[in-house]
């Protein structure tokens, strides 16, 4: 295989002339080497993600305890049990609340800040670094900081302001956890959207200004259409990750009080590692993946043009 971008000719495509034999042997060797170069990445991913993923799909229909590998087929019982469980309904509802929050607040804040950064040539690096600081810190650290110094009624900001901790409220806990996750996340979106906004062709922007368009009109009719692919991509990613939310809920509320802030991620995790019902945990995992899979198919379909470019 040479360095040109054309794919290797099909080996059975035509009868080779004898003087081409050496060249074909060379190409076959190159092709083997190229396959060997892709193999480690693919093998690792298949071993860690695909094989256990298939096992999850099978375990969801069994009473597997996670201890040893013995399990009995129970049909759809795990699914009927879960769908009848009011905690599952709460968890699904919380995932949808999470999704609605993440599609609105961080998106608006990051678009606003990214747009303002376009004109700030000297300070844009400074702002981006500051905005990314919560994003590069560990969820454990962020959650412990908020838990102890902000949401703490004895010694935290909440206590100093004489407000009840939202983490102990049946209605507020999920929003309190989402607030920390959004605080950690929005800076990432700013950097992504700023990177996309910068790729808008200058001529289009200048033409709009010459035509007398105001700042808002330029944003609405030039910049926004220009970053549409990035907006869609981030939207799909937000959908996927909203159904997988785990860290901040688990660390801040453990799904409490009284399961009011449970999300599907924490719900599945408790089945596996508190109740040792790996079968049920797998069923919840499968349901979560279903939402992710829809979004993932949409994403793969949307990026098909980039994949084939």
């Amino acid at each position: 295989m040479t360095a040109t971008a054309t794919p290797a000719p099909h080996p059975t495509g035509r009868t080779p002339a004898p003087d081409h034999r050496a060249r074909r042997a060379y190409q076959r060797r190159r092709s083997l080497v190229n396959h060997l170069l892709v193999a480690p990445a693919l093998l690792l991913s298949v071993l860690v993600v695909v094989v256990p993923g298939v096992l999850t799909a099978m375990a969801a229909f069994t009473d597997w305890t996670g201890i040893g590998f013995h399990a009995d087929y129970v049909g759809l019982r795990n699914f009927t049990d879960i769908l009848a469980d009011p905690v599952f309904t709460t968890a699904l509802g919380n995932n949808i609340k999470w999704l609605a929050l993440f599609l609105s607040l961080p998106a608006v804040i990051s678009l606003l800040t990214a747009w303002l950064l376009l004109r700030r040539r000297r300070t844009r690096t400074f702002y981006q670094v500051v905005y990314l600081m919560p994003y590069v810190l560990a969820p454990v650290v962020n959650a412990m900081v908020w838990l102890n110094i902000i949401y703490n009624p004895n010694g935290g900001v909440i206590g100093a302001l004489h407000i009840d901790s939202p983490l102990s409220s049946l209605h507020g806990a999920i929003y309190a956890a989402a607030a920390v996750d959004m605080w950690h996340f929005w800076g990432f979106l700013t950097v992504v959207y700023f990177g996309a906004l910068r790729q808008t062709p200058v001529e289009q922007v200048e033409a709009a200004i010459v035509d007398g368009a105001g700042s808002w009109q330029v944003f609405r009719h030039v910049y926004l259409p220009s970053i549409r692919p990035t907006l869609l991509l981030m939207g799909v990613m937000t959908v996927i990750f909203s159904f997988l939310a785990f860290d901040y809920v688990y660390l801040l509320t453990q799904g409490g009080p009284a399961h009011s802030s449970e999300v599907m991620g924490t719900y599945a995790y408790a089945f596996a590692f508190s109740a040792f019902e790996f079968g049920k945990a797998s069923a919840v995992g499968l349901i979560m993946s279903f939402f992710g899979l829809i979004a993932s198919c949409v994403y793969t379909w949307m990026s098909r043009r980039q994949l084939s470019s």
């Binding site: 480690p40 606003l112 670094v129 810190l137 785990f246 860290d247 688990y250």
Partner: protein, 283 residues
Amino acid sequence: MRNHSRNHSVKTRCKGVMAHTVLLVFAATALFPLFLVLLNSFKSNAGVTGSPFSLPKSLSLSNFTTAWQYGAFGTGFLNSVLLTGTTVVVVLVCSSLAGYVLAGQKIRMWPAVMVYLTMAMTVPIQLFIFPLYAGVAALGLLDNVFAVGVILAAINMPFATFLMRTFFLNVPKELEEAALVDGANVIQLIHRVLLPVVRPGLITVGVIVGLSAWNDFLISSTFLHDPSDQTVTLGFLSMNGTFSTQLGVMMAGALVLILPVLGVFIALQRYVVDGMAGGAVKG
């Protein structure tokens, strides 16, 4: 903006002030909790509960030594370094090899590999963690930071391969052809020709994947239970119950974990920002 009139220039400046105000408010939002950590890490518990906004009366380091001891930060940092190092090395080797082949479309099934990687990038951890746990336990690899490092490498692999692919797309075709004409083999080609060109890509992938391994919670807390095998973030987490009434110590522990990460991030911020913006824009 040309200053056609004095009025116009005043308006522009006014807008600039407003823009800066908005940007600064959001910068303050991002930094406020971290500022509270700094302020309270030097205070006694009474000092924190008195008011989280007051300045510390002295710069005593006793909170830091207590946190270091009870959070087992010594072993924790060592384990975090071993785990993150494993992840970064495995990811860099495998993703750059695969990214090179995919960028050059050097195998016929490359579109299938791309679709597979796109799907794998969005697979939820909860879809594979339960059987993975049983499998890792059966192999006797629980509490093994290297095994967890490899698992995190596998999870980060699709994203890293995509990013490496975009960097390899920038390698001029002529450069590679010239090397092949000169009779270089694949190893020489990668080492002498490709690596120098994609070095920024390797740094970008290394930093982003390294941060995500260093910060991981779900995988490492599931697979590392023995305190002597836990990462530094897990050691800090284990202090939470015991030190909930010693907020100064908790904040000192948080600061010890925050400073090195922010240090590395600020030193390499160009690569992180470029990787995030570029990776998302180019797909």
